[in-house]
């Protein structure tokens, strides 16, 4: 039997929270190993194909819970491989939210001003740019025109997309084979590898134990590359520092499973889960009204019929992101493409006589699929989600070879959350049904409960030990040397796409992790440039990290 391996820093997960921290620690001189439970795909391996076993099912996880289902990345690069690359910063009021605890939920050290230099670092690294209306596909243009017709504003959202390479194929949820989408596979991860970090795909971490020298032993299974239900072997790695970045649907589960070995977890581990207040509405447009009311037509003369064309969400209305409005009344509405595979079952038939999500009338709705427009609500929920006892392995009981599982998350929306959803649904109706443009119905929660692509807050930062699992440096309370840097650390719903905020928080957490590693004898220092060598972002944050910096 071989000796247990050891490393300075063990990173669990390779999405934003894992890739960013792995890069900085490796660049600073630490020995870094990244364990990722999904496969490692790139370029031409990203299939434009809905067949089971193509990249569409290999890189995704869809976990059905009680009242909430979670769609997340499951591959090297994590959520960045499957995301739609919309990268807005969270509005100022978000950091002042009270949520379910009745007082400010974010740590005192963090507000929008404090986070902006860290956002700048991410914007430089990916990079993130503002779109023009020329970049916006027909669906985004239609949503923008409808917003304008309703007397509202609408913005092309900032994105991490190389517009010269983008073909508007709308397959980006299966990974971008044209390398137009700036996933972590193109910046932080190759830079981490260049500095010696080792990334091991198909390694699913199950639990942590303590080592005699005050570090941690990480226990993993190696997963079969085709059938993720099959574990082919197991192993362990010892580390001085553990960074948990398995995502908000998995990080708390690993910690729950570790509790018998590590001792009691903070109360907030596996609680306060937020679905980012998300909700989808599908509108079925009248093509003639698009032409007659909005004056739109494509170069070929067709008014729209372009649901399939484009690149995910491109236009949002931020009129309701008004800090003077009461909490649970603030939300953004974003045009979104939701592809087939799971993208049609939850769409409901407006004014249905029979069932709303299946049957005769649903079939007729699908005949008009080209004229669909999906609008994505991101609102303020109440952090209602709670994880039950962890499954035997992973974060769900896997049902299919890939993608589909049954998890232990339960979510019962409160009156506050329902209020936000109702207000946003009404706003969508007001915009999209005006002057007979379309008919619109929210996606049903009856099939698999509510649904989020942006799971957050299941292991959150905060100043109050009773309601937060992490201190404001992202260290797990009462478990020194374990840091959590993924979406689970975000305290609550953000009312916008969260990738930019998750990434900025990971950047901000790095100096504290470097200091903790130094205290454990690791020869590491802080101060790497952006992955491509740019230094403007580093100049912006260095004044903030004095005290934890050795230069």
């Amino acid at each position: 039997m071989s000796r247990t391996e050891s490393t300075d820093v063990l990173v669990i997960g390779s999405g934003f929270g894992g890739a960013i921290t792995a890069y900085h620690l490796a660049a600073g001189g630490a020995k870094v190993v990244v364990l990722e439970r999904g496969p490692w795909l790139s370029g031409p391996e990203f299939d434009q194909d809905f067949k089971f076993g193509s990249s569409t099912t290999r890189v995704f996880d869809f976990v059905i819970g009680d009242g909430m289902s979670v769609l997340s990345g499951n591959c090297v690069g994590g959520g960045s491989v499957v995301y739609f690359a919309a990268m807005p910063r969270a509005p100022r009021f978000v950091f002042e939210r009270h949520g379910s605890i009745g007082r400010r939920m974010w740590p005192a050290a963090i507000d929008r001003d404090a986070l902006d230099p860290w956002y700048d670092r991410v914007a430089e690294a990916l990079p993130v740019s503002q779109q023009t209306w020329d970049d916006v596909p027909f669906a985004g243009g239609l949503f923008g025109a409808a917003c304008d017709h309703a007397g509202r504003t609408a913005n092309p959202v900032p994105v991490a997309i190389d517009h010269d390479k983008c073909t508007n194929c709308n397959w980006m949820m299966s990974g971008c084979r044209f390398d137009a989408k700036r996933s972590l596979l193109l910046n932080y991860l190759p830079a981490a590898v260049a500095h010696g970090a080792e990334i091991r795909p198909l390694h699913e971490v199950q639990h942590l134990t303590r080592t005699d020298d005050g570090g941690y032993r990480v226990h993993y299974s190696i997963v079969d590359e085709v059938d993720y239900r099959v574990h082919v072997s197991t192993g362990t790695i010892d580390a001085k520092i553990v960074i948990m970045a398995a995502g908000a649907g998995a990080t708390p589960v690993i910690l729950q499973r570790s509790e018998p070995h590590l001792g009691t977890m903070p109360h907030a581990v596996g609680r306060y889960f937020s679905g980012n207040g998300e909700r989808l509405n599908t509108a079925i447009f009248d093509e003639d009204r698009i032409r007659d009311v909005l004056g739109l037509s494509r170069p070929d003369g067709v008014p729209y019929e372009a649901y399939q064309i484009g690149k995910g969400p491109c236009v949002a209305t931020w009129d309701q992101l008004d800090g003077s409005l009461p909490e649970y009344s603030r939300f953004s509405l974003e045009q979104l493409y939701f592809p087939p595979g799971f993208g049609t079952i939850l769409a409901q038939v407006p004014d249905a006589v029979g069932p709303t999500w299946f049957g005769r009338e649903k079939k007729e709705l699908l005949r008009r699929w080209r004229s669909w427009l999906t609008v994505f609500t991101m609102s303020e929920d109440d952090n209602e989600g709670v994880f039950g006892p962890p499954p035997e392995t992973g974060n769900s009981m896997r049902l299919s070879q890939q993608m589909l599982g049954r998890g232990a998350l339960s979510y019962t929306p409160t009156k506050n959350t329902l209020h936000g959803w109702a207000e946003s649904d009404a706003a969508v109706k007001d915009i999209l049904e005006r002057d007979g443009l379309s008919r619109v119905m929210p996606w049903t929660n009856e099939v698999v409960g509510a649904y989020t692509v942006h799971p957050l807050a299941s292991c959150r930062i905060g100043d109050d030990p009773a309601t937060s699992a992490l201190d404001d440096r992202h260290e797990l309370r009462d478990h020194p040397g374990i840091f959590v840097t993924d979406g689970s650390a975000v305290p609550g719903a953000l009312t916008v796409n969260p990738a930019m905020t998750i990434a900025a928080l990971a950047e901000r957490a790095v100096p504290g992790i470097v200091r903790a590693a130094q205290e454990r004898g690791v020869a590491v220092r802080y101060g790497a440039p952006a992955p491509d060598g740019s230094t403007a972002g580093r100049r912006g944050v260095l004044p903030l990290v004095t005290g934890s910096t050795r230069r």
Partner: protein, 176 residues
């Protein structure tokens, strides 16, 4: 046949032949059955295959009970669920997928796979499915790829300003 009738209830189609009993024939064009619902359910990847016999038996037991409660005559020549007409199939499926039904997860899963057969043809490469005129993707008007099998849309934008931006937008394009 029973599972075909369930798939046809979720996304109905036209009869494949005049005496088709599984497909109720309440919609023109192919539905979930013609889209390959049974093939999708039988794939090794999907994970449903081991449960199919039990699901078919369960569905027929529910159909017998449903018919008994309503004194509906059943035709012994076909399984009980197939014997129900379309509207009764719908009514029974609504009962089975209702929020308070103890077996709802099984029936919702079955419906999910039927829908995936129609909207994604997950048992086939998408390029091949489109080339073969897959009923679901064709009904939806799913655009095909270029000659190299990859999708690109060179014409994609109205190319003009269509709304005013929010007044509190930062120079980098985010909410202030």
């Amino acid at each position: 046949m029973t599972l075909e009738a369930f798939a046809d209830t979720i996304l109905p189609g036209e009869k494949r032949f005049p005496d088709d009993r599984a497909v109720a024939g309440v919609s023109t064009g192919g539905g979930a059955v013609a889209s390959g619902a049974i093939d999708v359910l039988r794939t090794e990847e999907g994970g449903m295959a081991p449960a199919l016999d039990a699901l078919a038996d369960g569905l027929n037991e529910h159909a017998e009970r449903y018919a008994g409660e309503r004194s509906l005559p059943l035709d012994d020549a076909v399984p009980p669920f197939v014997s129900l007409d379309y509207d009764h199939r719908v009514a029974l499926v609504r009962e089975l997928v209702a929020a308070d039904h103890p077996e709802r997860e099984a029936w919702v899963s079955l419906a999910m796979f039927n829908t995936i057969a129609f909207d994604a043809a997950s048992h086939l490469h998408t390029v091949d499915a489109l080339a073969a005129g897959h009923p679901g993707l064709t009904t939806m008007g799913y655009f095909g790829p270029d000659s190299d099998g990859l999708w690109r849309f060179p014409s994609y934008s109205y190319g003009r300003v269509l709304a005013r931006p929010h007044p509190d937008t930062t120079p980098s394009g985010s909410p202030a």
